[in-house]
Amino acid sequence: MIVLRRLATALPVIAGVIVVTFLLTRALPGDPAVYFAGPAATTQAIEEIRHRLGFDRTLPVQFLDYLQRLEHGDLGTSLTTGQPVTTELLTRLPASAELMLLALFLSVAIAVPLGIAAAMRPGSPVDHVCRIVTTAGVSLPTFFTGLLLVYVFYYLLGVAPAPLGRLDVFDSAPPQHSGFYLIDSLLAGDFETFRAALGQLVLPGATMAIFTLAPLARITRAAMLGALGSEFIRTARASGLARHRIVFVYAFRNAVLPVITTLGMVFSFMLGANVLVEKVFAWPGLGSYAVEALIASDYAPVQGFVLMMALLYVLLNLVIDLVYGLVDPRVRVEA
């Protein structure tokens, strides 16, 4: 019930996204008809191509045509790669998703303990170090962090593998089940490929994780401080419960709620950072696809990308709301 209601409220948002994207991409400079007509084309040839591709129709007509095609799941064809947008988006989605999920995992694994540690000793050097380290991470442009990591760990130290994308040239992808190389290689029992894929994921994942440490650590710290200062914790302490039990079993469970809500915001942060990181690491994901298309004034991929991202975002918020509802009994009771 809640799911349906949330989806209903999301519909006008999706509609808004479709319209805005359409208008924005039509406002991009560049003339696809000239591009298609090729070099040494006469103005007549260009007009012909323009008519053939339907670019000479009025905007409302083009929009209706776009909507019709959308109904059939046809997101158009990319000018620059010549492939149907839907296929490309679906092929590239696992690459981006795998990267972002790993980055999220890394980020949570570092930020949450840091936040807890800082909350347990507020005002101490640990607290200040936590604040400085996480804020430093979010203060550098992501592409710079990425390039620095490549320079230090690949070029200077030779520890990391070459930034050539998801897999080294001489490795082949595991048989496709989910599109996530880590999962698929484990399913196939292929540990070599698992290691190779993981190795390629570490640097770009770390770059994105560094960028998202700050908000997570900050929220964890604030939430933990709030939880640790509350009455029931005071009671637990007075009752003589062991320290780590108080912190992890009672305080943390309550502090985790705002952290979950922040994950949504963090994820959208990541979508923004994704574009730059994928460019640096030659990662064949959605971000690099969208950037190349945008620079080339290639309508269809940009529209398709934004639509997909918006849908993902709506879905993600829905999932977070549901998880929140599951974790927090108060929400359930109220609803």
């Binding site: 390039l147 520890v159 001489f170 570490v202 030659a282 004034s297």
Partner: protein, 533 residues
Amino acid sequence: MRRRDFLKRTAAAAGTAATAGYVFPARAQSHKDTLLTLSEGGPNNLDVMGVGTNRPGYEASWNTYDRLVTYGVKKDADGNDHYDSAKIAPELAESWDLGDMSVTFKLRKDAKFHDGTPVTTKDVKWSFDRAMTIGGAPTFQFAAGSMQKPEQFVTVDDYTFRIDFLRKDKLTMPDLTVPSAVVINSELAKKHATDKDPWAMDWLKNNEAGGGAFRVEKWTPGQELIYQRFDEWKSGPVPKIQRVIWRIVPSAGNRRALIERGDADISVDLPPKDVAEMANDKKLTVVGSLIESALIYLSMNVKIPPFDNVKVRQAVAYAIPYQKIMDAAMFGRGKPMFGSPGEVTTTEWPQPTPYVTDLAKAKQLLAEAGLPGGFETTLSFDLGYAVTQEPLCVLVQESLAQIGIKVTLNKVPGANWRAEFSKKTLPLLANVFGAWLDFPEYFFYWNYHGQNSLFNDMSYQNPAMDKLIDAARFETDPKKYDEEVEGFITIAFTDVPRIPVFQPWLDVAMQKNVTGYRYWFHRQLDYRQLAKT
């Protein structure tokens, strides 16, 4: 307490090291019979005659399709292999008989396409008819060699092919060596043709139907292209490399890092600074070849004031900081096209102009033109070539400011560049043009002729110039030819609608164990001659 901390810390360190060792597996050795090449962008179409096929697409086509003929090879000044434009060599055609108004080719009888079908003249006819009919770049390219009607192509028998000439044109034979003149497996293509798409444009975009030395094993657009050697290739010596992997790496810094660390074998589009340093380091082999018939220049639109005044154009020509550009933008990897001592005395093209950096003279000319206070304008350039064009434009902007010309820079993204400059609305722009066929009249036909092609970004239309170009194109008398060519070059320099700055090099960096690199006029890599020792 201290000991516990120490133990904790060492355990953590050991743990990290172990994880690092697990997570970053040892590098696999580069395989001897596989070549890894890197570039910034990849092909957008496997069909050289496709709509909007880009330069990387030409590379894919060159290596996977055959043409009737090709060029021979010679050594350049540095001892590197260079295609020989004076020698036409057999490829698919074993021999030919060049007559006065026609040429008859004899195809080799043992050539096969990748799917095993024998190559016969019906495939040549289908492919060339296709080029004539689909319009766009291939039609124009064939027309440049006076091949303009399908009736000119005659299949005499299964292995004999004749091309009838419309007129005597010295460019006809060279025009058959260009990337566009491929021979496609017509049977295979026709199987995928439809009523709406009789030439199988859609299918050939993503699939190759060739008989060249390599076949496409796998193509992931925007990511990589993997080739496998075609062992039954008969049109030349079988390549030594068995497998070629072409990876797209957008970041130039990463490409350099990969080559320097030995994780890639060869790369073509590295920035001139990196190439200059790698050439000095001597850890890699760097080959720089002067690109014939190519120029990097500044164009002024003669229809947009104040560039309609020749004195203004000359003033700008004297205000370009030529040497600074050679140093800071090109790092010396180009041939200066300025500062010639005097008159035009050869038909060599490109050749340097007599202009040098002389700000006093530039100011004087501006005053003579009636603009002593200067004026404002916009300088546009292609973001896709930003590595050299941006420093060039910034230096030009600074220099022009010193004679009172206030310039705003306008970066145009690569995919929009052609559309932008072909509109002929840009007053001042930095551009590059490279011709496949190395003849001055060919270059001038595309760039200076009043037919006002796309590439005539100056909108220059001068009947005197046109007369000389038209005459030179079909001139048979060598003495008259020299006069005509020197004539139109002189007009180009005095009228100066376009200011040549330098002639670019094509720089290729490769590991020391990669041999056999040959420079081709199309500036793409030919894997057929490469080997790894």
